[in-house]
Symmetry: none
Subunit: 258 residues, 2 copies
């Protein structure tokens, strides 16, 4: 059974590398296939998957060092480094919101106002989640899960901005773009939901995590990451294509069969 | 406790790699998103973060070699190599000033005069700081901290040029660009302040540095580096975008929603 579990995480992390790396390369080259005003959104998407590709390479190596040779317990000092995921999220989660706002092509003042609120909230959400996952009671006596609760506050704020504030700006978009934007927003929220669920499931564990816990956490996080970064980035690219064709007849004529 | 400290430096150096590497890739691709006259500034910013990415890869490996396997003391010859930081700064600190001057779009004679003074002063500041940090009394008997004092002379000269000389050129810029340039200048000075503070704090240490000293130094330097190179480079890019839109209506129309 351990061999199967080990192989599952091993192959899932490798799937993570392949998905992130080649979505990145595709998006970097594909940025020319949209109008200039939408290229920043595509480039930010490519940056997100590039950052994640780096961290999946590191996690793959860290996993093999910690659990190689059929070991089923964390080997003390050389244990699997969960820090990579948090460093990755700290950089990429704010950028995912930048992608979403950038592709909407809003007026500069509205865009700037949205980002000034979403980016710090997203960074705070990740920073506050980390001590809870690490079981570190740095400031509070008692249960470390207080950090999970604190991290929920910026999460709810982001939800509110995405649904109420950005909801207002949807009216100006075409029906097709509205559908895609709503889909992208829903995908973001659904995949982010995986993280607190995993957090709550692991809340009562004490000491070093069991092999079973590491297996389900790593597989869950990897699937959520691929959906939230690669699939999300490709939806952002599709929105940029559709909007480019809507805004320019020349673009539509040169990019599509009439 | 040592595990937490080790993890903190380990993850901070990895955050350094990720920040530097993907700011670089983003800026290399993003140079097309500004007018040709501002592309040099963006490319110099990309060069700075690229050089730093290389050194963070080296420092990450050097740290793991010196402090891997739970060792808490520098292991003789294979100790953590501080030289990487100085080689990095020797190359990147003069270039940070080149970015700042280049993005201002000054007349060629003024730009050339500023760079001829700022670049050698920045290089001298780093070269003079190194023997002090290494506790090397190469020419002076007694306290090696004399080098810290000597290094302060070019630092004060740079401050004077940035605030008095460049201050004069700010008048010709729009209010928005003035605000961004002042912010960039302040960020540069504030982050450079971290280095002498760290220097003074470590001045009374003798012999090999303690693990605690290495931990706080590495975390402080890494945060200062990410702010001074990545955040600074992205502000330079933003200034280049704003100035491009101000100077060309065509650029503004193709890049932004009107």
């Amino acid at each position: 059974m351990n061999l199967v579990q080990h192989g599952a995480v091993y192959n899932m992390l490798s799937l993570g590398i392949a998905s992130m790396l080649f979505t990145s390369i595709f998006l970097w080259f594909a940025r020319d296939r949209v109008l200039p005003k939408f290229r920043m959104a595509v480039m930010v998407s490519a940056t997100v998957t590039s950052i994640a590709a780096y961290h999946y390479f590191r996690m793959f190596d860290s996993f093999n060092e910690a659990y190689g040779n059929g070991a089923t317990e964390v080997q003390g000092f050389e244990g699997y480094n969960v820090g990579y995921r948090y460093v990755d999220w700290f950089l990429t989660v704010p950028l995912l919101l930048v992608e979403l706002v950038a592709v909407m092509g809003l007026a500069r003042a509205i865009q700037s106002s949205l980002l000034k609120r979403l980016v710090p909230a997203a960074a705070a959400m990740i920073v506050l989640g980390y001590p809870g996952d690490m079981k570190m009671n740095v400031f509070f006596e008692g249960d470390a899960s207080i950090w999970g609760l604190l991290s929920t506050i910026p999460f709810l704020y982001i939800l509110w901005v995405l649904f109420v504030e950005i909801g207002k700006s949807l009216a100006g978009q075409s029906a097709k773009v509205q559908g895609l934007l709503k889909g992208a927003r829903l995908l973001l929220i659904a995949t982010w939901g995986v993280y607190p669920i995993t957090f709550i499931l692991a809340m009562n564990d004490t000491g070093a995590p069991s092999f079973d816990a590491v297996v389900s956490r790593e597989i869950g996080y990897s699937i959520a990451d691929i959906l939230a970064k690669c699939v999300f980035g490709l939806i952002i690219f599709t929105i940029a294509r559709v909007k480019s064709a809507e805004e320019s007849k020349e673009f539509a004529a040169s990019e599509y069969k009439s």
